[in-house]
């Protein structure tokens, strides 16, 4: 066989392995410059904005996010009930992003260092016979509670089939499970990037 053909085949295979292995495997992090490091010892989670057609998807992922944040480390988390009570007082609608001014007020009232907000861009669950393939696209933003500025944002997109190990093992078959995995991956990335440091 022609040697050049073999080299070309080798390069093509290498590209396929590298690109195929990387596609959509890691959340995309967009970090914004901050003047001083932000102390993140307490967190408030703002209602997520649901831009997908999945009913109650925002509340499902909100609860999952809260649960994963609790398990990440023993920091102080604002209660969902307190966040919603302040939204009512400020006459804010949960599906509207608060302004930086309102973020400052919410953070001050909750007594938290940072605020996590976000939007669900896509959330669906395709049932095909006995198989289910959920798909979620989400964007999470972290705001400084002191001034309401955006600190960083992370975009992540996954589907259940991404987690296949062998045959049907490892597949994520529910949006709840996929949402949990996505949020775990995002929080892991934030931890790795040392974005959630709680030190003076």
């Amino acid at each position: 066989m022609d040697r050049r053909f073999l080299i070309l085949m080798g390069v093509t295979l290498a590209c396929l392995v590298v690109l195929g292995g990387c596609a959509g495997s890691k959340p995309y992090l967009q970090e914004f410059k901050v003047v001083a490091p932000v102390r993140a010892c307490s967190v408030g989670v703002l209602p997520l904005i649901n831009r997908s057609g999945y009913g109650q998807g925002d509340r499902v992922l909100y609860r999952v996010l809260l649960s994963e944040l609790v398990n990440q480390r023993p920091w102080r988390l604002a209660l969902e009930g307190d966040v919603l009570a302040i939204y009512r007082e400020l006459r804010l609608r949960p599906w509207v992003q608060p302004s930086p001014e309102q973020m400052k007020i919410i953070a001050s009232r909750l007594g938290v260092d940072i605020l996590v907000g976000g939007e669900i861009l896509e959330m669906e669950e395709k049932v095909e016979g006995k198989r289910v393939n959920p798909r979620i696209k989400i964007q999470l933003q972290v705001y400084n509670g002191k001034d309401g500025t955006l600190l960083w944002a992370t975009y992540h997109s996954r589907q259940g089939a991404d987690y296949r190990k062998v045959m049907h093992f490892g597949l994520s078959n529910t949006v709840s499970q996929l949402g949990k995995k996505i949020i775990q991956e995002i929080l892991k990335l934030w931890e790795e990037e040392e974005l959630l440091a709680c030190s003076d």
Binding site: E68, L77, S108
Partner: protein, 505 residues
């Protein structure tokens, strides 16, 4: 009668038991009915709630009775599930002696194959309203739990039990009370109004603290705004601190902070809200779209009115009126929140009747969110007259001379003249846009028959004329009267003169 030794023994046993009783009361766990998100915004799942309660009780936790939880919710008007604010959590702690609150939601529930169930639970310590544990578990019939599907759930009931067990797997067996924080000074609610106001208007603020009236006698609340300090007064009836102050005169947003002072504790300063002072009068202009006559817009079927905000800002209220020459309001319309991009007026009064010809004024008043108002007006004229067009006929040599003359104020758009013979055939047809026109019709084409004509005319405003004149006979054959005209109307029953003036409404 028990002996003294027995009495002392009983006392010792009671002393040993008392702290246990106290602990179990404070350490009780209240399970709020689980919210079922799969059923929509107000879903409730009592079956899984019961399973969670039973599973926790089997782990040795002291549980608050379900009926007691429901009566607490009824008493405090808790009409939502899945979340609770610290205000209610404190009441659970103080009034019901509950140490922990378990909240949860059924995130997903699919009862068709493949079954699916997702559950989230969170445990809140009521002493300091902190989430101390949370867990989420989910399962799907399509999940490969074990080899050959040996561990797969066979139905929804089995799946519910498995998911509840999975969710509660990591709950700590020994719940520590920790060191309850003092949440007495926590701000329960702040209501400040208005959000946007004019310079000098009064701002009202009501602050409710998470403490009983008895413990607030030595508490003071100060409000910091615009480098001013306003002391809030305590109203026992409302258990609230209330303050009012005039807004500053500079147009800008003012953040409001409050400081809570108690003897022996440091001041707690919290940013609670802000308000916007807006003294800027909105700039509004009206543009009418239509035919202009002598510098004034004339109603042409309808007039389109466009309101333009020079410095766009949200509008709280608007009012549009139409007044006649005497200033009498003949029509009005109003609305809230947002100014329509355009209005249409069809020349009708409020009762739907067409207004008479004349001059009118359209007036638009807008109010911004602070209550500043501005007005704009435009004049409009209504003319609904038929085009004044006359046709004169005269014999000239061997022809019939037709002279058309328009004598109207509004420019003529077009005219058309049709002459028909007795059989209805058109023997002459002409049209034009000029105000005057002369036509010659050879008498040979007419003969001695009766003729009729139809005249159409329309002015630039759309006012139309249609004049049908039938059964005109030659004067020669009847009675010639000097130069009165070549043709004369036959009069009486034989003459049918119809003049139709129409306006396109």
């Amino acid at each position: 009668m028990p002996s003294r030794r027995t009495f002392i023994l009983l006392l010792l046993i009671a002393a040993c038991l008392l702290p246990q009783v106290g602990f179990s009361q404070v350490g009780r766990i209240a399970v709020l009915p689980l919210e079922d998100l799969s059923q929509g915004a107000n879903g409730l799942n009592l079956a899984i709630t019961r399973q969670v309660r039973e599973s926790m009780a089997s782990k040795g936790f002291s549980m608050m009775d379900h009926e007691e939880v429901i009566s607490f919710m009824v008493k405090n008007r808790v009409r939502w599930l899945g979340h609770l604010s610290s205000q209610y959590i404190r009441r659970l702690h103080d009034e019901c002696g509950v140490g922990y609150l378990l909240l949860g939601s059924v995130n997903q529930r699919r009862e068709k194959r493949p079954f699916a169930l997702g559950l989230t639970l969170q445990l809140i310590r009521t002493g300091d309203a902190q989430i101390i544990w949370a867990s989420s578990a989910e399962l799907c019939g399509a999940d490969e739990i074990g080899l050959l599907g040996l561990s797969d759930p066979q139905g929804m009931a089995e799946m519910e039990a498995m998911v509840v067990d999975k969710a509660l797997l990591t709950i700590p067996e020994n719940l520590h009370h920790g060191r309850p924080l003092d949440i007495r000074d926590r701000i329960e609610s702040v209501f400040m109004e208005p959000e946007i106001l004019k310079p000098g208007d009064m701002v009202h603020c009501r602050i409710k603290l998470g403490a009983s009236p008895a413990s607030l006698f030595d508490t003071s609340v100060s409000i910091f705004v615009d480098e001013r300090i306003v002391e809030a007064l305590y109203y026992k009836g409302e258990n609230s601190f209330v303050a009012s102050w005039p807004a500053a005169f500079k147009n800008q947003r003012y953040p409001v902070s409050i400081a809570i002072s108690r003897p022996g504790t440091g001041d707690q300063e919290v940013l609670v809200g802000s308000y916007l002072v807006d003294g800027q009068v909105p700039a509004v202009a009206l543009h009418l779209k239509g035919q202009e006559l002598n510098g004034i817009i004339v109603l042409q079927k309808k007039v389109t009115i466009m309101a333009v905000m020079k410095n766009p800002e949200p509008i709280r209220r608007w009012l549009m009126t139409v007044r006649d020459e005497n200033g009498v309001e003949i029509m009005a319309d109003d609305g809230q929140d947002g100014l329509p991009p355009r209005f249409s007026w069809w020349g009708q009064a409020q009762n739907g009747a067409l207004v008479v010809d004349g001059f009118y004024t359209i007036d638009l008043t807008v109010w911004d969110r602070a209550g500043n108002s501005a007005s704009a007006e435009q004049a409009i004229r209504v003319i609904r007259q038929e085009p004044k067009m006359e046709l004169a006929m005269k014999e000239q040599e061997n022809s019939l001379a037709l002279n058309l003359e328009y004598d109207g104020e509004i420019p003529l758009a077009y005219w058309r003249l049709e002459i028909q013979n007795q059989d209805g055939d058109i023997i002459s047809e002409s049209s034009g846009t000029e105000d005057t026109a002369s036509l010659m019709l050879p008498l040979a084409t007419i003969g001695d028959q009766n003729i009729s004509y139809r005249l159409y005319a329309q002015d630039m405003l759309g006012n139309r004329l249609r004049r049908d004149v039938v059964a005109l006979v030659p004067v020669e054959e009847k009675e010639k009267e000097g130069d009165a005209g070549f043709f004369a109307e036959t009069g009486g029953e034989e003459m049918a003169l119809r003049e139709i003036w129409t306006e396109d409404f």
